[in-house]
Subunit: 204 residues, 2 copies
Amino acid sequence: MSSDKQLADKAERHKARQQKVKEAVDAKIAKAQTEKGVLLVMTGNGKGKTTAGFGNITRAVGHGKKAAVVQFIKGNWPCGERAVLEQVGVEFHVMATGFTWETQDREKDTLAALSAWEAAETLLSDDTIDIVLLDELTYMVSYHYLDLDRVLTALKNRPPMQHVIITGRACHRAILELADTVSEVQPIKHAFEDGVKAQLGFDY
Amino acid sequence: MSSDKQLADKAERHKARQQKVKEAVDAKIAKAQTEKGVLLVMTGNGKGKTTAGFGNITRAVGHGKKAAVVQFIKGNWPCGERAVLEQVGVEFHVMATGFTWETQDREKDTLAALSAWEAAETLLSDDTIDIVLLDELTYMVSYHYLDLDRVLTALKNRPPMQHVIITGRACHRAILELADTVSEVQPIKHAFEDGVKAQLGFDY
């Protein structure tokens, strides 16, 4: 068999395989017709949860959607995402304290979490907001700074077309159950474990 | 024991626990002192790989870093991330064809992949670029559109402080081995499986 013939056969087999993939994908797409606000949770211990949230906000804004961000547990460093996204109209609310192990003051942290959550509730009842990122919200629930039922109620009662993204490790089971899409980001390896420090503009 | 006393004890225990967490975190941070360009791979079958890549680009640009994006396998829809990020100076190269099961033409796809890869090689040899996103690159290797060794060589020889992010399912083992940080995004559940269609500004 000539090499040309082999190449042509390979191209044909590729085409047939891809045709099958296309048919399977098309069939799935045809079945998925519901449009609704999706509750997405990005959890797990790997790198990429917060950046996925902000990437989704960047995408939404690029399509003319109205987006808002509430950052729970935020360090005192400047936020690169905020610098870009506020320029294009994204509304930001940032919790007043930093990482909770830096503050070590339960009462102060609880008040700060509540205040940030009130901003979140306002967004979750505003049907002009297309997408809301609740960055690092999971910790507020696991540290009992926020009442789980209050969080669930606001999520359930939000405008039906509003997308919400929640990020953070160890998301409470009740929020996972309510979510439409859950991704668990697993750390296969991390440069930090190999002695590489967190670098501005990449890790934060 | 009075309720006030209980609350005070709870706050003290919280403070002690958080102090321990802080010490452990501080010790880890003290050990991690290397600064280098990190090769990050976001792989797995869950939602959030591409958005994590774009979120990282948004963050970098917000800190004044110079960023570039090469999109392999890109559909023919408008790209929201591009609309925002080109405004703030991010350089984009987009592969000419769409999803490969839409084109079903191996030769055409290979040429398009090669052309996009040449743009990537230029970026990977330019030390004025702080961070490069190679979105959906993994498929180019698994479909044998690109030569693995050529990809590995360019990644290894890039400027030492340049960060690179590779996204896509089923990343080749040799790229995972070369990477500093690997996150696997696992789909715990996905709205699409529940009949929810891919929505503009959220899923694409």
